[in-house]
């Protein structure tokens, strides 16, 4: 990973930022005539997939993705502040999302931090260019929050591992070339965690040397597609796919989740979720009619809006305060571990509240001419659960904060 201690010139950064703003201003595709996914978890059609893959590739080629990842593996070799600037420019221009989120933000930093030289050479560039798409095989039908109990089996057989079992809620499972896979190599280990291993597993092609890996799309609460159940039947993959050593799976999976939850840095950058801009809700409150008047005229609505805007601002303030050492040391990790819970719950409440501003129009959904903002808020609300459930539910986040930040005993 590019060293954040390396010096950089403020003027260079300012120039880079201006160039990024200009580039996204010019190149952001507008007037796309089909519905674009709000998050990387909503990629449900080939049209969306192909479009987003091309878009990510274009952004990467322009130098605005992985700008701070090492040059030798395909990154830009710059200070992280440069990628931050590019990511902000991207969000502000409201560009389509970066498709390969699991590669860019979880697998990539994990490989850069603890992968072998070969693994870095093999995977990093494809992650950035969207040539190789990644998915995550952690959750199973019977083991979700209790991830440590995962039962998918990996049995060593000569130079291979043979995988059997099923993963579920696999985002982009049907498109992925590779999966970060958590599987049980030793069912007799002294505890459930120690029996797990971590694989960089191929999903298709000749690298699957035998058996089958089958993905079955699952329809989401939005009516769209985006994740699959993934079945492994005697799937044979090379033993080289094992990351680290047997038994280190839990450790590596936990590190992966830290990237996923934003509690650890190193992500390639780029926005992977189109969060509604909190201030859009003020526009909505001006336009939407409640009891015959603009919703914003209602004092109760105003009070709630102010509370939400205040909360929105606190999300940004929290992450900045986390970098001011004397203001972040009373309870180490508090702000980092608290950010997923704070932001995902916030967006859920924001969208839920937005629906209540619309009077009878609250009833409409995407595609109806009467829907406010073409049902953006309704769809946003339903989608918001992807973030309060995926990546560890809000309840699990509270356990983590309670136990790791506040020092409470395990439940």
């Amino acid at each position: 990973m590019a060293d954040s201690d390396i010096e950089y010139d403020e003027q260079d950064l300012a120039a880079f930022k201006d160039a990024a703003v200009a580039w996204f201003g010019e190149n952001t595709p507008r007037d796309v005539d089909f519905m674009l996914p709000l998050t990387f978890m909503e990629v449900g059609t080939d049209q969306q997939f192909n479009f987003l893959r091309e878009w990510q590739n274009k952004v990467y080629e322009a130098g605005y993705l992985g700008a701070h990842w090492p040059k030798e593996y395909g990154g830009g070799g710059l200070h992280p502040a440069f990628q931050d600037a590019a990511t902000r420019a991207m969000a502000q221009a409201r560009t389509p999302i970066m498709l390969n989120a699991i590669g860019l933000n979880w697998t990539g930093p994990l490989l850069l931090d603890r992968g072998s030289e070969e693994e870095k050479q093999k995977y990093i560039k494809g992650i950035l260019s969207a040539e190789t798409i990644w998915c995550q095989g952690f959750s199973e039908p019977e083991n979700g929050s209790d991830l440590g109990n995962a039962q998918t089996r990996a049995v060593k057989d000569g130079d291979d591992y043979v995988i059997n079992g099923s993963k579920i809620w696999t985002t982009q499972g049907n498109y992925a070339d590779y999966m970060i896979l958590l599987a049980r190599t030793n069912p007799d280990a002294e505890n459930k965690y120690k029996g797990l291993s971590f694989f960089l597993a191929p999903m298709k092609g000749a690298d699957v040397k035998g058996g089958s890996i089958e993905t079955v799309p699952i329809k989401k609460l939005t009516g769209e597609y985006g994740f699959t159940q993934t079945f492994f039947t005697d799937a044979r993959i090379s033993a080289d796919c094992l990351m680290g050593a047997e038994g280190e799976g839990w450790l590596i999976a936990m590190q992966t989740l830290e990237y996923e939850r934003g509690a650890r840095a190193g992500q390639a950058g780029g926005h992977v979720m189109m969060m509604s801009d909190p201030s859009d809700i003020i526009r909505l409150a001006r336009e939407a009619k409640l009891n015959g008047k603009p919703a914003i005229d209602d004092p109760a609505v105003q009070e709630e809006l102010v509370a939400l805007m205040t909360e929105a601002r606190s999300l940004g303030l929290n992450s900045r305060r986390d970098k001011i050492r004397p203001l972040a040391q009373d309870r180490p990790m508090s702000l980092a571990l608290g950010s997923k819970l704070a932001s995902t719950d916030f967006y859920q409440r924001l969208n839920a509240f937005a629906i209540t501003l619309q009077g009878t129009r609250a009833a409409y959904y995407v595609g109806d001419e009467n829907a406010h903002d073409n049902g953006l808020w309704q769809r946003g609300y339903l989608n918001s659960f992807s973030a309060t459930i995926g990546g560890g539910t809000s309840q699990i986040q509270r356990n983590i904060i309670g136990e790791h930040v506040l020092g409470l005993p395990k439940s």
């Binding site: 201030s279 102010v306 805007m309 929290n318 305060r321 004397p326 309840q395 005993p409 439940s411």
Partner: protein, 378 residues
Amino acid sequence: MSAFDNARMAPRIGLSEEQAQLLDIAESFCRDKSPVDKVRALIEEEGGFDAAVWHEIAELGWLGIGVPENYGGIGLGMAELVPLVEHMGRSLMNTPFVPTVLAAQAVLRGGSEAQKEEVLRQIATGAAASLALCEDHADWNLQNLSVTASLQDGQLTLRGKKYLVLHAAAAQFVLASVALDGQAALLLIPADALAGRISREKIIDDTQRAYALDLDGLSLPETALMPTDLAGDALAHIEQAGSLLLAADMCGGAYACIDYTLDYLKTRKQFGKLIGSYQALKHSIVDAHQAYEKARSHLYSAAHIFGEQGEGDMAVHMAKAEAGEAYSFAADRAIQFHGGFGFTYDCDAQLYRRRAIMGCALYGDTRYHRRKIAALMF
């Protein structure tokens, strides 16, 4: 469309070298000087604070932090007072510090040159002072004034009563807001003019002291009047500065009260398990903690940009609103999570809960500040 821009702008927060140092010093000072048994002992004393600690605070130069050097102060600003008051809030420390530094701010903004010379130097070296702002109508709007002064032949004559004057009994000066010819005005009243007019009020927060001032018929020389053209601005400044410091006290209190409750959750057992392992308690205290973190971010953002027109005001309103909400929730849960012990005077949870109510009662509660933000935003 200021709100629209706000959300997109990188939120502003920072910490000066001085703030960082004061944060360190205040933490150990307040912990040493205000352990909870001391807080409880002071509740039993009439004055409610330790004169020796007050003296040390003056020696440390803290009273002069917000006072310019040419008036004998250190010449820093409101931002540097925040870490101090935050730690006073954590330790439930009670002295006339907040009313005194706010009175200094009022004189700084609203006083004549002679008044500044007279008062600021004394405050910087340890004189306590206070503000008489609240009235019978219980309105937070500092411009709503029914206590009046009339000016005749160089004499001011006052009518009415002021309430919730913190530490009035210890103050060597009290600044009172009055209506003079229908306009807001501030009066600088020396302690000796108030003899026999001060009576202690029974307030919800036993760690603090508040007094009613009977100003009816009080006669003062015209020199007590601060320049009337500055009064409006001075009152606006007091509202902002008061809200900021109260937010600091409440953030500190919220932290301490969560900490206090965590200790219990980690030691008390029921059904054979530590009660902190029960999620009904664990998740709720996490929510309290998250609300505290949010409030603290707003606090240090407000301190950082204090005084900036528009943005600075908005940040202070947010800080006070969030601190009030966070402290109230944390202290409310603190009582509940201590069970029967929580219902006792011996349990510290009530100290925090009462102080939170007091903190919301002064300079506006959460709803009041949200309405102010709404007025700025929409």
